[in-house]
Symmetry: C2
Subunit: 212 residues, 2 copies
């Protein structure tokens, strides 16, 4: 009996692992497709084709396109933001320098093709926030995590004596995140890395005026 239960438990665990794997495989494929074509422009059939799953298996995980979009906002965008824009700042003694330098590094490593795709968060915000309140709430919470992460780093900069006191930290954090999104949004059309670097350099120069 114990043997049997243990076998059953192992089966269930394996099935769960496979299910988690399939789900995250679908999310990865869908993220790419939506990043390239927008939420409404992305085709569910083309996503299913690329996952190489049956329609049944696919719809078992995500019965609607919305469910897929919401899961991307909750599970992919937040971790992408933290990994790209917030956590790397831990490596800098001066977080203000970190913010400029990390932005520069990301521009340097953005593949040519991706310049024309913009920022995955900004794309969804611009397309879906006014149309779908659930989407809007989820995107809002992703954006909020970014702003909070930057604000915490500004606090750290102030504590360490790199940033002038009297600066409104929340407002500056909003401006920094807005500049990133604005830059991605503008370069999405211009597809010009030089403009991208110019925008980053201007933000860097501004942050320098706030340093002690």
């Amino acid at each position: 009996m114990f043997q049997k239960e243990s076998f059953m438990a192992r089966m269930i665990a394996a099935k769960t692992r496979n299910s988690v794997k399939t789900r995250s495989h679908i999310l990865g494929v869908a993220f790419e497709e939506i990043y390239r074509h927008g939420f409404r422009g992305a085709s569910v059939n083309s996503i299913i084709d690329k996952t190489e799953l049956t329609k049944g298996a696919f719809f078992h995980h995500f019965p609607t396109k919305e469910a897929l979009g919401y899961a991307i906002a909750d599970e992919i965008l937040v971790s992408l933001i933290m990994d790209r824009w917030v956590r790397p700042l831990d490596n800098y003694e001066n977080p203000l320098e970190g913010i400029s330098h990390n932005f520069k590094k990301i521009i340097e490593t953005t593949p040519e093709e991706h310049l024309g795709f913009g920022c995955p968060l900004n794309n969804l915000v611009q397309e879906m926030a006014p149309e779908d309140p659930v989407f809007s709430k989820k995107l809002n919470s992703a954006l909020e995590k970014w702003i909070e992460g930057i604000e915490l780093n500004l606090k750290r900069a102030q504590k360490r004596g790199f940033l002038r006191s009297g600066v409104h930290l929340r407002r500056l954090a909003e401006f920094i995140v807005m500049s990133h999104e604005g830059a991605f949004g503008m370069v999405k059309m211009l597809r010009d890395r030089k403009v991208f670097f110019g925008l980053q350099a201007t933000l860097r120069d501004y942050l320098k005026t706030l340093q002690i």
Copy 2:
């Protein structure tokens, strides 16, 4: 014969006037609909309903949704940009102050509902630039007129001794336009006029650091 020709000519002129009027009526209605729902989200049938024209009359002017979108980019967006963001700067002795003050005035007069709609140019850029090269070219040219308009004003500011020499004017103009688009894009989701004013104030503070 002369009488008859003159009558014909008057008929043609009247018809042309009506045609121009109808066309601009359609463009106005379509602009509103696309501003609210995005290009792909806007329904041509709903636009036709709101124009109160027959389908035949409508399609005579704009045989496709694309034709409608392109005409909006060429004819509406450019004049909107010039009227809102460039021409008002003529009224300021110091164009740097003009840029901040004009932005503030526009935030103050943006209706509550419009906060959630974003910037008409930015919306189309984010949605359509990667999908449609013709659209992209037209939107690009509208954006370029905005950047050039700001750059000319920065030149004027430098000439009049308000702006430090050595500032890269094109780059600063790109940053200013990017900040406007970024701010509209962020507020589109947050729908928070306080954040909007905060972003404007931060840009103003930055411009002040460049003043003489």
